[in-house]
């Protein structure tokens, strides 16, 4: 699926999460082979770092997305009473704010 060229000319924007994972595994394997045979080339370390950074960023993004999804889902499960309570709380907060600024 991947060749050395993909890794040498790494462009993370063109790869989806699964491909990044696969390429990262390939890079680690390649690094281990280089270590046992000769010096690890600079481009391989650069690619490895770039892959790790992008994978971490995408995982953080995915977590943020999942969190928002779950909050949205929870919102749909609220009963009318819970929704009313939320509105009452927001009204109370706004009225308090209004008094503080003296409007």
């Amino acid at each position: 699926m991947f060749n050395l060229e993909t890794l040498k000319h790494l462009d993370v924007e063109r790869l989806d999460f699964d491909e990044l994972i696969a390429l990262s595994a390939f890079a680690k394997l390649l690094r281990a082979e280089y270590e046992s045979a000769s010096e690890v080339p600079e481009w391989l370390d650069d690619a490895g770092r770039s892959l790790k950074r992008d994978l971490q960023a995408r995982q953080a993004d995915a977590t943020e997305k999942r969190l928002r999804e779950l909050k949205a889902r929870r919102e749909t499960l609220k009963t009318p009473d819970q929704k009313r309570a939320d509105i009452d709380k927001e009204i109370a907060d706004l009225e308090q704010k209004k008094q503080l600024v003296g409007v």
Binding site: R58, R68, E75
Partner: protein
């Protein structure tokens, strides 16, 4: 053949996108329906499975029904493919039938067909489909005087859905908080277009953008990428993740490679352009279908600047569609070779950036001679040129040598481009000779006529029809089973409510 049209010509003409102008299918479609009815019936079936142009799915069945001599044995196939259309497309097909010259499926037969279609949809109630096609369904009910079932009447015709249904929730979306609306869209799987329409200006809230991205089809995703950029898909982490996940899902889609090409061109942002370009490559790979090794002969003779770009595009598309090797050879009266196997359009562009139109004439043979002398063995040849083969070595001689050396006759496809007005008459003559000389030694040239303008939108569809065996696509089409009406509108069951 009586009609003067070969099967390959029928495929070539009907593979192009008329961009909504369905009338463009009538002349060739009617000829094919009259002289090659069995082939056209199978082509309709093949196009429904493998074709990329939706217009052809809408227009071709109607064209066959408008042909008085179209055999009854194939009429059911046409009807079945009409029945397989979504309501919006069926309505387009019915409107298009009015511009066809003959009666076809009109009057009582059409009403009875539409009633059968609507009754089947009532019995197989699909709320997502109803949401997406409510307007078209309402038009079908009213235009053909079909009395809707109670639920269909409430939801589709009167627009008063029962409380607690997804249809009622869609109406409430605009009154919900963004977070609740996002949750509702996700939980009830409300289609993107329906949700966006119901939300109005609220749709730009990040929670809602995230939910909408998740509900986009691959085509909707690529056509809305520019808007999504404006809404923060590059800067907001949750939106970034939603976009990445949607791109990964779209990667396996075979339906929208053409739109991805257009969308990628319209994007200025380099990151998003790269993402769409990578998506297009994955979609082309998913389409597949073209085998063997290919040689693309690109004309770079004087005035052929546009042909150079077209050669890059054809090579890049082939490089993704085929598993074999792809060689690009630019020629004027000399030749220059680039191995483009597995390369992206951007890589090919970078390698050929300095290739410009020039030289001392056009020798398509020079390109093939280069391949012959360099030992480049291929199974198919795509020539991108105006066909004005006016300098030695002559192509037909080189081709004969090539066939002899490799003991095979690779099929020849000519992407025929226009030339300068002052050279048109002469080029026409050279091209006719080019084709005749090959015909004289028993070889056909399959032409994609692009003289009226190059439509990059249709290009992947044309490339997809190329085959290393000149008869294999025709065989593949003829092997595609015809469709029966009962296979589409399967026996009905009781109406299931939402």
């Amino acid at each position: 053949m009586e009609s003067g049209l070969t099967k390959n010509q029928i495929i070539n003409v009907l593979s192009k996108s008329p961009h909504g102008k369905l009338e463009e299918y009538i002349p060739v479609g009617l000829q094919a329906a009259q002289h090659e009815p069995e082939f056209l019936a199978h082509l309709i079936a093949w196009n429904a499975l493998k074709g990329q142009v939706r217009d052809a799915r809408v227009a071709l069945p109607i064209v066959t029904l408008a042909c008085p001599s179209f055999p009854v044995a194939f009429v059911e196939n046409s009807m079945a493919h009409l029945a397989a259309l979504a309501p919006r497309d069926l309505l387009r097909a019915i409107k298009f039938s009015k511009s066809c010259p003959s009666a076809g499926l009109k009057g009582g037969r059409m009403r009875s067909f539409v009633e059968h279609y609507l009754r089947w949809r009532e019995a197989n109630w699909n709320q997502v489909s109803v949401m997406q096609h409510r307007g078209a369904l309402r038009t079908l009910y009213t235009r053909f005087n079909v009395r809707p079932h109670a639920l269909a009447d409430q939801v589709i015709c009167k627009g008063h859905p029962p409380d607690g249904t997804v249809f009622a929730n869609v109406k409430q979306l605009a009154n919900m908080s963004p977070v609740e609306a996002a949750g509702t869209i996700a939980a009830q799987r409300i289609p993107f277009l329906v949700a966006r329409g119901a939300l109005g200006k609220k749709a730009s809230d990040p929670d809602l953008v995230m939910a909408l991205i998740d509900r986009m089809s691959p085509t909707e995703l690529v056509t809305n990428t520019k808007n999504l950029e404006r809404l923060g898909v590059k800067t907001n982490p949750a939106l970034r993740a939603a976009f990445e996940q949607a791109l990964a899902r779209a990667g396996s889609s075979k339906q929208n490679t053409l739109k991805t090409t257009v969308a990628a061109e319209a994007i200025d942002d380099e990151t998003l352009k790269a993402k769409l370009s990578a998506l297009q490559e994955k979609q082309l790979k998913a389409v597949g279908g073209v085998d063997g090794n290919w040689l693309v002969l690109g004309d770079k003779s004087p005035s052929m600047a546009e042909t150079i770009e077209l050669s890059r595009q054809v090579s890049a598309t082939l490089a993704k569609l085929v598993r074999g090797r792809v060689h690009l050879v630019f020629f004027d009266d000399t030749a220059r070779h680039i191995n483009v196997t597995g390369k992206t359009y951007e890589q090919i562009l970078a390698e050929t950036a300095h290739v410009t139109a020039g030289g001392n004439g056009t020798s398509i043979g020079a390109g093939l001679r280069y391949a012959l002398d360099s030992g480049i063995e291929v199974d198919g040849i795509a020539i991108v040129s105006d066909g004005g083969d006016n300098k030695p070595p002559a192509f037909f001689q080189c081709y004969a040598d090539y066939c002899k050396k490799y003991d095979k006759a690779p099929p020849i496809y000519l992407y025929r481009t226009d030339t300068l007005p002052r050279w048109r008459v002469e080029t026409e003559r050279w091209c006719a000779m080019f084709i005749k000389f090959l015909a004289d030694i028993g070889h056909e040239v399959n032409q994609f006529d692009l003289r009226a303008g190059i439509d990059y939108y249709s290009l992947p569809n044309l490339v997809q029809t190329m085959r290393v065996n000149r008869y294999s696509l025709v065989e593949e089409i003829l092997d595609t089973p015809l469709l029966a009406l009962d296979e589409v509108l399967k026996p009905t069951k009781e109406l299931s409510h939402v």
